[in-house]
């Protein structure tokens, strides 16, 4: 490589081609542009005419200069110019290369490998001997120096590991003698770094290579207030925002991205990302990734902690008001509500919801035994609790019990019994409860008894101190039956009152683990890895990797013996992430005596692409100029050609658009008052009409109601925070561009947060619900990713018909029906009221094709811009259109206020009038 100032050339001999440029100048100057041959009868008149201007015979100087520029750029480009080329290693003697090789260095591993290769090739040229040490995998024996070539060959085998650097004993693990050191740091602090550094400095010069890019990592996801929260950490505030993707399997089993959230540290080193997702989607997530970052730290695996199971709780007794603490399901509710999705209802209803777990509290005489049995055989977990009913029932026909029960049951420690209440025996080794501490205060006063049988012991997973089974379990098909021999309330035992109860439920995979697993949660079981992360953040099948004791896993510190990944035991799964729990990423600091490369060094930038692009652009311009000179660039074709060429040139150099935010002034303007907003349609004329329409509606509102909106605004979907808008009018044009996924996320958040969008296909709804018109089809395509509830044509008693004016139809320039959120199927008409009590809330969307904006639109002097209908009837229709607008805005602002009058008779009655 030849170096000229800040620029180096990888193929400098090609620059000799520049010498030929002056020669080319002379050649090109002499050759006039190629002539066009034209057939022209008037040539007889031309004969004998001489050209007066002789200069045109030669190529003009600026065209020559352009061509030479193109050629020079091509020559220099092919000579491989590199800005800020990296220089070779100084020094002599043996060279030790130390690579941190942790997950933190995986993000730019290629650069590191290149740096090592460069050092190795320099060492090979200088005949230096080299040794390579990976701190993530410390050498077992003292390493020795070998020739650079063999180390180069071994280099592809050095890969980053999904854990941070292991402890390194400088005294025994460094090679003999004096040597220079190149240390490829991952940029994170480690406790023994200074010790190793001083040991290395004692042997020779130390050069440190460290990337300037901050290290980013994701921690374990947890659930907070119903949303998934993923903590993100950085060693320093990253300069540019990134995005985090939630990845999981779709219903077809194909892995895909389920959600995406921008990751912006906002100048800090930690940030919490919130994924507000429906439970079905949330349970599908298997991992989070910082997109575009290949590192084990950028991947956060999810486990049971973020999976919420659907649990159905049924009990045989009817709930009685006031006896909550005696209710057989109260403690189950208390234990499960925070961590599981509970379903209530009859057994039939519950089975259609396909729960993961069904808990039957004291139910004998199961009504739908065969159906329930099918469900269990397909993988359901049926947990039953005993109770007075079960004790007194004839259970011979009940096949959904893990063990046969003796009729009657027994009570201990009561007034009529012999012994004291019994405590629990420690859990056996093979029980799913193994490792849970048994509190002394758990006592059992009554229980149902199992019929002695040879396999009783096998089925027992918890027993009392006297050996009688407390919990029994049996497999049935792919599912399991579990019976607690005590009741689910505190009548028979104190078990539901104890902390053991939720722990046992969790062990049975009924409830999700609250957040970080404790030692007690995991201890006593062997956890088998299912999937393991490599250093680059790729998930691999663990294969036959050895299991890990739960106590080890609970420490949650990844290392060679405990690789990050998914570990399972029984039905439970625990994820171990590369970033330890509560870990903080501290950037590595180096003393001033050490030369740190990456920190000050500018990035090596190859200029070849830019120069070749310049050459290509110049040649394109040359085409235009040559065409213009030879007279071929005339007429409409010329304009087309010029447009094409300039478009080609421009697309190459368009800078990426900066990410903008809603400006503060705009946000204040939109939020300080009610503002009607219109969605840009991509058609300037439609946009102008939308704004004029909203101006007209605002004027009507100002005049007739207490709503006094400010001037309408055009939504800037990309930058605006939609929460500041009350109402969005969305005219659909046939060729409207769809919003991006991020913008859809914004719109969905807006709709969930009580906003309203009025979709207007402006096609007079000619084909029913927009089936065939181009705008109707576009609307379907545009609205598909939106969270829109089921829709129905507006019922006659919808609250929109009476929020301000009493209306029965909702015309704009056309008069078609409109669609709103469908009323609930069981809406009933209240006594004495003319309308049903419909949706509790505001319909998030109103869809129609009546072209309201044109009916509302007024010009600057307040006159209508478009005719509506004919004569007085048309004016009447415009008036109704305005009234519909007023009703709509009132509906947005007051919700179902007018529907509440349904309750007026009842209120009056209670007040005694």
């Amino acid at each position: 490589m030849m170096v000229l100032g800040p620029i180096g050339f990888t193929a400098p001999w090609l620059l000799l081609g520049l010498v030929a440029l002056p020669l080319l100048w002379l050649l090109l100057r002499a050759v006039p542009p190629a002539p066009i041959r034209r057939r022209f009868p008037g040539v007889a008149l031309l004969l004998g005419l001489k050209d007066t201007e002789v200069e045109a015979a030669r190529t003009p100087w600026w065209l020559l200069a352009l061509r030479l520029l193109a050629l020079a750029a091509a020559i220099i480009g092919f000579a491989g110019p590199v800005l800020n080329p990296q220089r070779a290693e100084p020094g002599s003697g043996p060279l030790l290369i130390i690579a941190d090789a942790s997950w933190a260095s995986a993000g730019n591993w290629r650069v590191r490998t290149e740096r090592m290769e460069r050092a190795l090739s320099a060492a090979e040229q200088a005949g230096r001997r080299v040794a390579l040490i990976s701190l993530a995998e410390p050498p077992v024996a003292q390493p020795t120096f070998s020739d650079a070539k063999s180390v180069t060959q071994a280099l592809p085998g050095v890969l980053p590991h999904p854990w941070i650097g292991q402890s390194f004993d400088a005294a025994t693990m460094l090679p003999q003698g004096n040597f220079d050191t190149l240390w490829l740091s991952d940029g994170l602090a480690r406790p023994d770094r200074s010790a190793i550094l001083s040991a290395l400095q004692g042997r020779g010069a130390v050069t440190v290579w460290q990337s300037q890019v901050p290290v980013l990592a994701l921690g374990a996801a947890r659930i907070e207030d119903g949303a998934l929260v993923v903590p993100a950490r950085a060693s320093a505030p990253p300069p540019s925002p990134r995005e985090v993707a939630a990845i999981g399997r779709d219903p077809a089993g194909i892995e895909r991205e389920l959600a995406r959230v921008p990751l912006d540290f906002a100048g800090k080193t930690s940030a919490d990302l919130r994924f507000d997702l429906p439970p079905e989607l949330r349970n599908r997530i298997t991992r989070f990734e910082i997109s575009g970052l290949r590192s084990a730290g950028a991947v956060s695996l999810t486990d049971d902690a973020v999976k919420r199971r659907k649990v159905a709780i049924l009990s045989g007794t009817r709930d009685r008001e006031g006896l909550q603490l005696l209710s057989p399901t109260h403690y189950l509710h208390e234990a499960l509500a925070p961590t599981a999705d509970l379903i209530e209802g009859t057994l039939d209803d519950v089975l259609t919801a396909d729960p993961d777990v069904i808990i039957l509290a004291d139910m004998a005489d199961l009504p739908e035994q065969s159906k329930l049995r099918d469900w269990v055989e397909k993988g359901g977990l049926l947990i039953r609790f005993a109770g007075p009913r079960m004790a007194n029932a004839d259970l011979t026909a009940d096949t959904l019990l893990p063990v046969r029960l003796r009729a009657g049951g027994r009570s201990i420690g009561g007034a009529m019994s012999w012994g004291a209440p019994r405590g629990l025996a420690p859990f056996p080794e093979d029980s799913p409860f193994a490792g849970l501490a048994v509190p002394d205060d758990v006592t059992v006063k009554a229980q149902v008894m199992a019929e002695p049988a040879p396999d009783l012991v096998e089925h027992t997973i918890a027993s009392l101190v006297d050996g009688t089974p407390l919990v029994t379990r049996a497999k049935l098909g792919q599912g399991a039956l579990v019976l607690f021999h005590v009741s689910a309330n505190a009548e028979w035992s104190t078990l539901p009152l104890s902390v053991l109860f939720p722990q046992m439920l969790e062990r049975l995979a009924v409830s999700a683990r609250p957040n970080a697993p404790e030692v007690a949660d995991l201890a006593g079981q062997t956890w088998v890895p299912q999937k393991l992360l490599d250093g680059f953040g790729r998930l691999r099948d663990a294969g036959a990797a050895a299991g890990v004791p739960g106590a080890e896993l609970a420490k949650a510190v990844a290392g060679p013996k405990l690789q990050p990944g998914i570990y399972t035991a029984d039905e439970r799964a625990v994820a171990l992430n590369a970033l330890g729990r509560d870990a903080v990423l501290t950037p590595a600091t180096w003393p001033a005596t050490v030369a740190v490369e990456g920190a000050t060094e500018t990035q090596e930038t190859p200029l070849k692409g830019w120069l070749l692009a310049l050459a290509l652009g110049a040649l394109l311009l040359d085409i235009l100029a040559a065409l213009a000179l030879s007279g071929k660039l005339r007429g409409p074709r010329a304009i087309k050609t010029a447009a094409l060429v300039s478009a080609l040139v421009l697309t190459g150099i368009t800078p990426p658009q900066a990410r903008a935010e809603m400006s503060e002034a705009r946000a204040i303007e939109a939020a300080s008052n009610v503002v009607l907003a219109a969605m840009p349609s991509g058609d300037p004329e439609v946009d102008r009409v939308s704004l004029a329409g909203l101006t007209g509606l605002s004027a009507v509102l100002n005049q007739r109601t207490t709503v006094e909106p400010s001037a309408p605004m055009m939504v800037d979907l990309k930058n605006d925070d939609l929460a500041v808008y009350t109402f969005i009018y969305w005219p659909i044009t046939a060729d409207q561009a769809a919003p991006t996924p991020l913008e859809y996320a914004k719109l969905n958040r807006y709709l969930r947060g009580g906003g309203m969008i009025l979709f207007d296909t402006r096609d007079a709804d000619v084909a029913g619900f927009g089936e065939a018109t181009p705008t109707g089809r576009r609307l379907q395509a545009l609205a598909a990713p939106l969270d829109i509830p089921p829709l129905a044509p507006i019922p006659k008693d919808h609250v929109l018909t009476r929020t301000f004016y009493l209306l029965q139809d909702f015309p704009g320039r056309y008069d078609g029906t409109i669609w709103v959120e469908a009323p609930p199927a069981d809406a009933a008409r209240a006594d004495g009221m003319p309308f049903r009590n419909l949706n509790d809330g505001v319909t998030p969307v109103v869809i129609g094709g009546n072209d309201w904006a044109e009916a509302w639109a007024v010009d600057a002097s307040g006159r209508p811009m478009f005719p509506v209908g004919r004569g007085r009837t048309g004016e009447r229709q415009r008036e109704i259109a305005n009234r519909f607008g007023v009703n709509l805005i009132m509906h947005v602002l007051t919700g179902n206020y007018k529907s509440d009058q349904v309750h007026v008779p009842a209120l009056l009655e209670r007040l005694g009038q």
Partner: protein, 303 residues
């Protein structure tokens, strides 16, 4: 059928050629008829007594008039005898010369929205439309030369259409043929007149000697007028015989147009001296105006 394969192949080829030839006839004639329909015919009697169809006057019979010429109905109303005289209507002979040289095949815009037909096509349509009008007016129309001597009647139109549809000649610029032009007849020259002027001059001289007057219409493409070229260009005549190379075509524009104007002046002077009329028509303009001018100019020249 005992026809050998050879004869049947020949018959096929003959028929194909015949169809090809025939297919060219109707469009030209149809276009010409269409164009001619735009011109309203006017009477062009000689305004004196003679042989003809139209009544001119009654005059008293005098000696020498045969009895069968006496108009008895008029004579019955008075004592004298009257003879019915008819207007003298004389059929004119018109000779057309349509330049069929290669230069007439030029068009400045072959394709695109503003495509124009070549000059030759315009000239032929004009000539045939003029023939239609003339024949409708009872004149005799033919071509210069010996191929089609002037004849009246619609059958002559078919013959003219066939002759005018013939492919163009090979030489660059055409020269008018004056053989077969009868004395005191009329002649119409349709050409671009871009070639040598000498043959035209001599042809006009010969015709003037025979007392033939006529009309010259220069048919030009708009591009030949505007010369919208620039850049380095090699101009070739249509057959490629004449070549002129220029480095900067736009530089020639002014001088070309000057020469064209000179050429037009020369033609006008030539026409005036021979008692002819001269005008220029561009193929970019509608053909009706040119036809009207032709028809009017022929009418002006007579009687």
């Amino acid at each position: 059928m005992n026809a050998s394969p050879d004869t049947s192949v020949q018959a096929l080829a003959l028929r194909r050629e015949a169809e090809t030839a025939a297919s060219a006839l109707p469009p030209l004639l149809v276009a010409a008829e269409h164009l001619a329909a735009t011109v309203q015919m006017g009477a062009h009697g000689r305004r004196r007594a003679g042989t003809g169809e139209e009544f001119w006057q009654y005059r008293p019979a005098h000696s020498g008039d045969e009895a069968r010429f006496v108009d008895w109905r008029r004579s019955g109303r008075s004592d004298a005898q009257y003879v019915r005289e008819r207007e003298w209507q004389l059929a004119q002979s018109v000779h057309l010369w349509v330049d069929d040289a290669a230069s007439m095949n030029f068009t400045g815009a072959e394709t695109g929205r503003a495509a124009r037909a070549p000059k030759s096509e315009r000239a032929r349509v004009l000539a045939l439309a003029l023939s239609v009008l003339m024949i409708r007016g009872g004149e005799r129309v033919g071509l210069t030369g010996v191929a089609a001597p002037p004849r009246p009647g619609r059958a002559q139109l078919m013959a003219l259409a066939a002759l005018l549809s013939a492919p163009s000649g090979q030489q660059d610029y055409g020269t008018p043929q004056v053989a077969g032009v009868s004395a005191q007849s009329r002649a119409v020259f349709l050409s671009d007149f871009l070639g040598d002027l000498a043959p035209i001059e001599s042809a006009l001289g010969q015709l003037a000697d025979r007392g033939v007057t006529g009309v010259m219409l220069q048919v030009l493409d708009p591009d030949e007028e505007a010369f919208p070229y620039d850049g380095r260009t090699i101009f070739q005549s249509m057959s490629g015989a004449l070549v002129h190379e220029t480095r900067k075509a736009s530089d020639l524009r002014g001088r070309y147009q000057e020469r064209l104007a000179q050429r037009r002046d020369a033609l006008t002077r030539l026409a005036q001296s021979a008692g002819w009329q001269f005008s220029t028509h561009h193929t970019g303009d509608p053909a009706q105006s040119a036809l009207l001018w032709l028809y009017g100019a022929l009418g002006r020249g007579q009687g």
